[in-house]
Structure formats: structure tokens, C-alpha cells
């Protein structure tokens, strides 16, 4: 490892680094890598590390000096994380991140997700792929603010076989504004059987949590605004226009339907607590021609 760490020290122009140490069963200490990584602090933009199935505790220091990362991927699956796994706190400072991919599959020591608590403030973050399958996580507080990241588009969360998870009330709120969520709760024995599955789309989520997903708050809407209206009856998105918001915050939308003759007609439909969201490029694919 000293050799690898040393290899990095002179590479002052290095933008992209990928190191695979997967299954290196004689790897005893990864700390010599820290100095090498620290020396790349000003140049490195894209870092991918793979320590899958390494026997040693991955304690990486020096990563906090990496301030310009836009793409980060770390695979720690089936490794002992060490008592505190301090090194991973560097993620909280990676404000330039556009994509984050981390795999903790099979990390039995994983107890919390505090490293990710600032993700919601990352202005450029677009893609998040976090794998916690086969871990002893009980909740996911650390990622609750994920949806607050303004440019977030695709999120994949894998909690499959996390049998200690019993409460996912946080979950609809966390992914509600993410256009392409993909969340897996398969075989989470602590959850009701109907939720032990993989959710592969936003519509899938709404169907599973109809009362919990208030897609756009009414105070954020304006009369006349074009929105998407998810019809639970038809189980699909329809184009709609907000035509009234009453004092209690109930929204009335008019669904724009295609009449089959080449024109559009408006059918007034009054609904309480309708599932609607704003028109945006990310959701226009759901209109199905209506």
C-alpha cells in the first residue's frame, strides 16, 4: 500500500483516480494511502475507491483535504468499518459533488448515516446511489434531507435485507420531489409485507403511500399554474391546471384531456388533497399524451 500511496504523491495534475483493492486479503492497513490522496487535494475531481471484501478496517484520513471532488464513489462492502470510521466525515464538506455512490453492503458495523447529513445543501448534487443492504441500520436519519438538494434527479437507495428497520415514515418525504427514485426494501423483515419490495418509480411510491405523499404544498402553488395530476383511479399522470386554492389549502385542478378529435377540452374536477406536482422537464414523460 505504501507503494500505491507513494505513486500518488507526484501527480499534481491528476483529475481522475480509480483504485481497486477488492478482495485483497493480505491488505492490512490502508492508511498509507491517506498521504497520497491528501497530496491530490487541489487537482482531484473524480475519485473511485474499491475496498470490497478487504479484511482490514478502512480508516482513511487525509480525504478531508479533497475539496474539489465532483464525482465520488467508494465501495466498502463487506469490510469492517472500524469503531468510528472517522474518515468518512469528509463527505460532509464535498459541496461540489454532482454524483455520490457508496456501497456499505454487508457492513455489519454500520450504525448511522451521519456522514450524509449535509447532502441536502449540495447545490450541484444530481445523482445519489447508496447501498446499505445486509446492514444493521435501524433508521436513515442521516439522509432525510436528501430531497432538499435543488438539482437532485436520480436517487437509488438500497435497504434490502436490513431487518432492523421498522419505521420508514421518513421515506415518502425524503424522496417526494425526486423525479427518478429507486428504493429497495426487499426482505426488510421489520416492515409490513406490502412494503418489503422495490419501488422503481415515483408512481410506484404514490401508489404505496397515497396519504403520505403531498407532492407540492398548496401554498407553493398559484392559480393558473400547469401541474401534473396523478390520478389514483387511472394510475397515471395527467396534465392539469390549478384553478382554485381554498382557505384550507385544498386545491382544485382542471384536468386537460385529449378529446380524441385533435383538440383539448377542460373537465373541471374538484378534489381534496390531490396529488399534484409542478410541470417540469423531468416529469413531462409521464403525460401519456393527455
Amino acid at each position: 500500500m505504501t507503494g500505491v500511496g507513494h505513486a500518488l504523491t507526484g501527480l499534481r495534475h491528476l483529475l481522475k483516480l480509480r483504485l481497486d483493492f477488492g478482495c485483497c486479503n493480505r491488505l492490512k492497513d490502508v492508511s498509507p494511502l491517506s498521504d497520497g490522496l491528501a497530496s491530490l487535494s487541489r487537482s482531484l475531481r473524480d475519485l473511485k475507491l474499491n475496498f470490497q471484501y478487504c479484511d482490514c478496517a478502512v480508516v482513511l484520513t487525509g480525504l478531508e483535504d479533497l475539496l474539489f471532488l465532483t464525482h465520488l464513489s467508494i465501495d466498502l462492502s463487506y469490510t469492517p468499518l472500524g469503531p468510528k470510521c472517522r474518515g468518512l466525515y469528509f463527505i460532509k464538506n464535498q459541496v461540489r459533488l454532482q454524483s455520490l455512490e457508496m456501497c456499505f453492503e454487508g457492513c455489519r458495523d454500520l450504525k448511522h448515516l451521519r456522514w450524509f447529513s449535509t447532502l441536502g445543501t449540495f447545490q450541484h448534487l444530481e445523482t445519489v446511489d447508496l447501498d446499505f443492504a445486509y446492514t444493521n441500520l435501524r433508521g436513515a436519519k442521516g439522509i432525510k434531507t436528501l430531497h432538499e438538494a435543488p438539482n437532485i434527479r436520480h436517487v437509488r437507495l438500497n435497504f434490502a435485507k436490513c431487518s432492523l428497520i421498522q419505521d420508514i415514515s421518513w421515506f415518502p418525504e425524503t424522496v417526494k420531489r425526486i423525479p427518478q427514485p429507486e428504493v429497495d426494501f426487499s426482505e426488510c423483515r421489520g416492515l409490513p409485507p406490502s412494503l418489503q419490495r422495490k419501488f422503481e418509480s415515483f408512481e410506484d411510491l404514490i401508489a404505496a403511500f397515497p396519504e403520505d405523499i403531498d407532492i407540492v404544498r398548496s401554498d407553493a402553488l398559484q392559480v393558473g399554474e400547469q401541474v401534473k395530476f396523478f390520478s389514483p383511479k387511472e394510475k397515471r399522470w395527467l396534465s392539469a391546471e390549478v384553478n382554485n386554492i381554498d382557505e384550507d389549502g385544498n386545491v382544485t385542478v382542471e384536468v386537460i384531456r385529449f378529446n380524441g378529435l385533435g383538440g383539448h377540452i377542460q373537465v373541471p374536477e374538484v378534489k381534496r388533497k390531490e396529488r399534484i406536482r409542478r410541470q417540469s422537464r423531468s416529469v413531462t414523460g409521464n403525460t401519456n399524451g393527455d
Partner: protein, 517 residues
């Protein structure tokens, strides 16, 4: 005329005259007389000398003529594809005997399927007289079997064009694929570069093996010039141009996953101008990298050197995938590929002198209107550049075989010679004992900016090549070293990478590497 026959006895001379008369009856078109008359017209005494020295050829040719005379359809010899066995009702060979054309626009869309290719060769086999002989005499002067009666085992694409393709397509003046196809387009999956003198039987063997290795179906398509181009208007389909993008070869190649180079026992494609031209187009195929597979036939069995791993290898898992590749390529003769290290496009030959002139001029960038008129300037730097590139392609393709055989030195010299090369990919995975010290030959290479070396699952006794070779590449900005699965990697040698100050992208794969780290 009789006098020209010299010492040949009068019977033989009469027979030859009769053969000539027969040829004259055979077809009104002087173009189609070619195979019969050309040797006599070009050099009668030479043709007769060959006949007279090959005593076996004369009686066989005589018997052939007599058989044809006894056959009531003799006068329609080629037009009606006279074989009685092939004339039964609903014969699979109807497409040759009673052809229907399905026009396909653009030669680049006229690839042939393995099933169709088998049909062509099955049709050839129909003419086998039972002892492996075919009823045709080889009048191709450049052929090794010139003057002899053709056999199933040595019939090649020159003969197939003359005796099968041209007669079958004569009525519609189209390509063979257009009478075999029932669809409006047969876009290719693979482009085949080969020499027409390659025996069809061996060639088919190579394609069969390629299909097996690459898991292609008999209905997948390979682009083979002889079947794709209209042999009646060949120039229109080929369209040699200084801009290779305008040729049917280039257009066909652009639709393909890769190129299959079929080598015969003499590796003749390396000496043929058309094959070189096709290979040169691999280099110029733009952004997309085409795969290059190389096929040979050893002891009657096809062997294919594939570009990277194939599906069947991957099913074995990462470690055994390389082992599977090694096993399946073990019979490939490296010495055949090494002939490609010496390829010289200026020395390459072709059936028609004009092709050489036009292709060389095209490579030298001569304008389209002067391609056939000007003699090529052989001192033009484009030729040496092309040579170096071509040699580099074949060296890169054979790296794993060379690494395994401990013959990397000459390969590195070839790669060193390719001064314009910017990317080097050495797939050496699975070599038992890999000595890469010869990589030092590349030190100082002025343009190499991207280097990918896959040494996965190798035994690497020395790693000084990193310091002595890689760190001496002044333009290197992207390096991938795959050392996964290597036993006893000297990780400290990796420290030398720190001297490559130009590096912007680095990938080190030490997955499952067993080392003291």
C-alpha cells in the same frame, strides 16, 4: 495456331483448340470468356507450357470436356448451372439456377449470412465428381493451381466468382447477395477482410468458428466483398476514393461491431493491397473503436483470436475467463500474425495492377480524378505512416499470444515505430510468465497519451518496466494498469508512477492481487 503449341502432340493440341471453341460457344460476352481464353490470349506459349508440364491436368481437362459433350445441356454449362443433382424440384439451389433478384441499395447493405454462405459452398460441393474434383479448370494466372482441374478443397473466391457468382447473377447483373436475400437490406454485423485466394472451404471454416466463438447465429451477417459487390459493375460498387469514407468498404465497416481478418496458411492478406486498404480503414474508423478478430485454420480447424473476452469466456468468472480465452486460442499460430509486423503496403499485390495504383494514390491523397492516371510516388510519407499503423494494429492484436510466448521484443519495436499512435492497449491477461521489460522500447515515444495494460492473472516477476518504460512517456496523461489476480505484485514498484507528472487519469486495479502491500 497449331504451330504455337510447340512440342505438344497433335491430340493435345486438338483438344486445346476444341476447348477454345467450346469456350467461344459458351458465351457471347467476351468478358465471360476470360477464365478460358485469357491465358491463351495473354501468353499462349506459357499457358501451353504449363499444361504440357502438368501431365495430370491434360487428361483431367480432357475427361471434363468429354463429360460435358455427353451432357445434353453442355452448351448451357454455366447459364443453367447444369448439375443434374441440383435440378430436383424445390431444390435449395434454385436461387442459383432460377434466380430471383431482391435489389438491395448500396453494397454496404449486402452482407451475407452464415446460412447463405453455407448454401454457396454446398452448391459448389454439388459439382464434386465424387473424388473431390470439380468440373472446372483454373485459368487464373495468379493462382497456385493455375492450369489444374479445381478441387473442392482448393476452390477459392476467384473461382467462385467466375463459375458460380457471375453465371448466377448474369441475368440480373446484380450481386450474389441480391439473389440470395429475400429482404431489402442485409446490414453487416462483422466485416471480413480476406484474400480471394483463400480456399473457400477453409474460409468457411473460419467464419463458422467465428460465429461459434462470438455466439453469432447463422442468420447474422458478415460483409464479404465478393458476395456484396456487383461483379458485373465492380468499379461502381468499390468506388476507390482518396476519402475512404466514400468507399463501400468504409460504409460497411461503419455498421459493424468489428473486423474479422481471415488468414490463410501463408498469411497472404498481409501482402494484398485490398486487405491492407481495409485494415487501414480500421485505423481511420473515427471515434468508435472497431473490434479486430483474427482467424486462421490449423489442421482443418478454425481458430479465432478475439479482441478481448467473449461471452462464453465471461461465463467462467473473471479468473477462469482469461483461462478460457487462452485455451481457445492456444492453437493460433503466432508466426502468422508476426508476418503482419513486416507489412509494406508499397510491396502489396493485387489481381489488377490498376487497383494497386488507385489504392496507393488514394492513400497518398491524390485527387479522385488522378487516381488511375498517375503512378504512385512511393517515397510519399503516407505509405510509411500507413505501414507503421498497420503493423501496430496487428502487434496490438497479438500481444497476449506474444506475451505468452515470451516474444514481446519485436512487438514492442513495431509499436515503437508507430510514432503517430496516441493510444496503446496491451491485453496480456492470463499469461503464465510475463516479462514486460521490453516495454522500455517505448520510452520516449512522443505521442502516447493513453496506455492501458491488462496484466490480470499473470505472474509478473519484474515490474521495473513501470519506471523504465512508462515514466519515460512524455505525453502520458491516462494510465490504466490492471494487476488484478496477479500473484506477488511488487507494489513498491508502483511508486514510480509518481514520476509521471503529466498524468491526469489513473486507474490501478489490484483486485484480489496477492501481494505484500
Amino acid at each position: 495456331m497449331i504451330e504455337a503449341f510447340g512440342n505438344i502432340d497433335i491430340d493435345t493440341a486438338s483438344f486445346l483448340l476444341e476447348a477454345l471453341e467450346g469456350a467461344a460457344e459458351y458465351d457471347d460476352s467476351s468478358e465471360s470468356w476470360g477464365p478460358f481464353l485469357e491465358p491463351f490470349l495473354v501468353d499462349p506459349s506459357k499457358a501451353l507450357r504449363i499444361l504440357s508440364t502438368d501431365l495430370m491436368a491434360i487428361p483431367k481437362a480432357k475427361a471434363n470436356l468429354e463429360r460435358k459433350r455427353n451432357d445434353s445441356d453442355v452448351s448451357n454449362f454455366s447459364e443453367d448451372s447444369h448439375n443434374p443433382r441440383a435440378e430436383s424440384e424445390n431444390s435449395p439451389f434454385d436461387c442459383f439456377m432460377k434466380p430471383h433478384v431482391t435489389p438491395i441499395s448500396g453494397a454496404h447493405n449486402r452482407a451475407i449470412s452464415l446460412r447463405q454462405l453455407r448454401l454457396v459452398f454446398d452448391y459448389v460441393r454439388q459439382f464434386d465428381d465424387g473424388s473431390g474434383y470439380l468440373p472446372w479448370t483454373d485459368w487464373n494466372q495468379q493462382s497456385d493451381t493455375y492450369g489444374q482441374q479445381l478441387q473442392v478443397k482448393n476452390i477459392n473466391l476467384y473461382h467462385v466468382v467466375d463459375f458460380i457468382i457471375k453465371p448466377a447473377t448474369k441475368q440480373y447483373q446484380c450481386s450474389l447477395v441480391e439473389i440470395l436475400s429475400t429482404t431489402k437490406s442485409q446490414p453487416p454485423k462483422w466485416f471480413v477482410s480476406h484474400c480471394w485466394s483463400h480456399p473457400v472451404e477453409e474460409f468457411l471454416c473460419s467464419i463458422e468458428e467465428h460465429a461459434r466463438v462470438r455466439n453469432l447465429s447463422p442468420d447474422d451477417f458478415w460483409w464479404i466483398c465478393g458476395y456484396a459487390n456487383n461483379q458485373h459493375f465492380i468499379d461502381a460498387d468499390i468506388n476507390i476514393d482518396p476519402d475512404p469514407r466514400k468507399t463501400s468498404f468504409y460504409r460497411a465497416m461503419q455498421q459493424c461491431e468489428g473486423v474479422l481478418l481471415c488468414l490463410d496458411s501463408m498469411a497472404k492478406p498481409f501482402t494484398r493491397i485490398w486487405c491492407s486498404f481495409e485494415s487501414a480503414m480500421i485505423v481511420q474508423s473515427g471515434e468508435r473503436r472497431l473490434l479486430l478478430d483474427i482467424a486462421a485454420v490449423v489442421d482443418g480447424k478454425g481458430v479465432v483470436l478475439t479482441d478481448g473476452l467473449v461471452e462464453s469466456d465471461l461465463t467462467q468468472g473473471p479468473k477462469f475467463a482469461l483461462e478460457a480465452k487462452r485455451e481457445r486460442e492456444i492453437a493460433f499460430p503466432l508466426e502468422l500474425l508476426e508476418k503482419g509486423y513486416h507489412i509494406d503496403i508499397r510491396q502489396a499485390s493485387a489481381s489488377h495492377e490498376t487497383d494497386i495504383r488507385r489504392i496507393l494514390n488514394a492513400i497518398a491523397g491524390v485527387s479522385a480524378e488522378d487516381l488511375g492516371a498517375k503512378d504512385p510516388d512511393l517515397s510519399h510519407p503516407a505509405f510509411e505512416r500507413t505501414n507503421q499503423k498497420l503493423r501496430g494494429i496487428f502487434a496490438e492484436a497479438g500481444a497476449r499470444k506474444a506475451g505468452e510466448a515470451g516474444r514481446l521484443e519485436s512487438l514492442m519495436q513495431v509499436l515503437r515505430g508507430d510514432m503517430e499512435r496516441t493510444t496503446l492497449t496491451l491485453n496480456l491477461g492470463g499469461c503464465q510468465q510475463l516479462d514486460l521489460t521490453s516495454l522500455v522500447a517505448l520510452s520516449g515515444h512522443p505521442n502516447l497519451s493513453r496506455v492501458v495494460i491488462d496484466c490480470s492473472y499473470c505472474v509478473l516477476p519484474k515490474m521495473s518496466w513501470i519506471e523504465k518504460g512508462l515514466t519515460k512517456l512524455p505525453m502520458l496523461n491516462e494510465l490504466t494498469l490492471n494487476l488484478s489476480g496477479c500473484s506477488d505484485v511488487d507494489a513498491s514498484a508502483l511508486g514510480a508512477i509518481s514520476h509521471i507528472s503529466t498524468l491526469q487519469k489513473l486507474r490501478l486495479d489490484l483486485t484480489t492481487a496477492v501481494s505484500q502491500m
